[in-house]
């Protein structure tokens, strides 16, 4: 009996892609408005979606990048799954719009997944299962968000926008082969948003030990134990990153060094992209990883739970990597905005 999830047929990532909006709101600009510029800042700045962007448009561009690298016909996808906590509609799937934009319709699954910040990895694990059971050859799993924090709340400093997409397929056609996954979930109320509410609520300090560290730590430790590996076996590791401090602390406690984690740690410069957070980090790692490198990914979603998974990079990465923009290309494309522009674009002004 093992807690590990392993597909019957070996599977992996055939193509990956990221998207991060152009605009940045520096944390010091939020502090200028709410704390007279005093107090510590959890990150340097966060990515803010433009006025014409939402989870659909972010998911679509990330998915186009993943398909460009996968070099498969979008019509061969049997699932287009979008994990998000900011689906544009309360009722009407994000997945159908994205699938239509990609040319994946009509013979496909197209559902939306929700699990706070781990909806993206939830969709990935489902895609591994769909392909791993031979029900389908290709499935697309996406995590994308345009997260909102209550004005002045601690989360406003970090709630950001971005996403990542993965074409999952047979291992023999993969640029990173999946080793296994493991999930660790309990009912822990650290963060939530009720229906019809604009902004989420959170348990302040409760979000740390009993939520983030308990779940991500247990998922990671159980995964390492079940796979008989240690931190030293991995070239890279990436953890859910709601700020800069949490992922650094958990990485250190598991024995990972800064060299293993710095490539995937993007929250200081783009913020917490929620469903995209750990997996946008994974795309930045795949942008530089070499064949044979092993990568550990551990997500965290409030409510609460973590998915741990590991990949081994293959030779295919070398020719497919240049077929779409690198994650750092999006991070470099940067236009700073002020708090006033941010409040207008994010719909925080009452107009009627």
């Amino acid at each position: 009996m093992t807690e590990l999830l392993r597909p019957e047929r070996p599977v992996g990532i055939v193509g990956y892609g990221a998207y991060i909006p152009r605009y940045r709101l520096p944390a010091r600009e939020i502090a200028r408005i709410w704390t007279e510029g005093k107090g510590g800042l959890p990150i340097r700045e966060k990515a803010v979606p433009g006025p014409d962007e939402d989870t659909v448009t972010i998911a679509t561009e990330a998915a186009r990048n993943a398909l460009a690298r996968a070099q498969i016909d979008p019509a061969d996808l049997r699932a287009v799954w979008v994990g998000s906590e900011s689906h544009p509609y309360a009722v009407k799937p994000t997945g159908t719009i994205v699938a239509e934009a990609l040319g994946a319709t009509p013979y496909t699954q197209a559902g939306d997944w929700e699990f706070a910040c781990k909806a993206g990895t939830e969709a990935m694990v489902a895609a591994f299962g769909l392909v791993g059971s031979r029900m389908a050859d290709y499935a697309l799993a996406i995590g994308a968000d345009t997260a909102q924090g209550r004005p002045g709340d601690a989360l406003e400093y970090t709630a950001a926008a971005g996403g990542a997409a993965f074409v999952v397929g047979p291992a023999e056609n993969s640029l990173a082969v999946l080793e296994a996954t493991l999930s660790f979930v309990t009912d822990t109320p650290d963060f939530w948003r009720r229906a019809h509410q604009h902004y989420p609520e959170h348990g302040v300090r409760f979000t740390g030990e009993p939520a983030y560290f308990h779940h991500i730590g247990n998922a990671a430790r159980a995964f390492l134990e079940a796979t008989g590996t240690t931190a030293a076996d991995y070239a890279y590791a990436v953890f859910h990153q709601p700020n800069a401090k949490f992922p650094q602390r958990i990485a250190k406690s598991l024995g990972f060094t800064e060299e293993q984690t710095e490539v995937g740690l993007l929250s200081p410069v783009i913020g917490n992209t929620y469903s995209g957070a750990a997996i946008v980090g994974l795309t930045a790692i795949l942008d530089v990883a070499q064949p044979g490198d092993r990568i550990l990914v551990v997500s965290f979603g409030s409510g609460a739970g973590s998915d741990a998974m590991a990949f081994t990079v293959t030779e295919a990465i070398l020719e497919r990597r240049p077929l779409a923009p690198a994650t750092q290309d999006y991070i470099r494309r940067r236009t700073e905005i002020d708090y006033a522009t941010y409040t207008r674009w994010r719909g925080k002004l009452v107009l009627k």
Partner: protein, 137 residues
Amino acid sequence: MEISRHWRLRKQRYALEGEVCPHCGAKLFPPRDVCPHCGLEAKQTYTFVGTGTVVSWTTARQAPEAFAEQAPYVVALIQLDEGPKLTAQLTDLGDTEPYPGMPVEMVTRKLRSDREERGLILYGYKFRPVLERALAE
């Protein structure tokens, strides 16, 4: 309420799906089923890559009500590398001023909401300055 029209146009709006003439090879956008170049039937669908250059542009400050949310915005005449010219909004300009010949690429964005926040969200093509990439294809 124009649900049926939005639905009919979704593929050309989301992904620049047009047509290619099987007789003379001309690429058509929007799709029109008859080739304007050779006059023969052209119903074969063709999805454009969506790269091109700006020919001309203007900034809309007094926007129609449905587009007021995103005003001011830039509308441009774009010459697609694959042949046709079309008009579309430019997006993600940041501090960049458009100029004639500016290289742009298609992205799918929110065009507007139908009937404000109760209606459909309409998505479609816009163009942005080509993303600079450190690692060339």
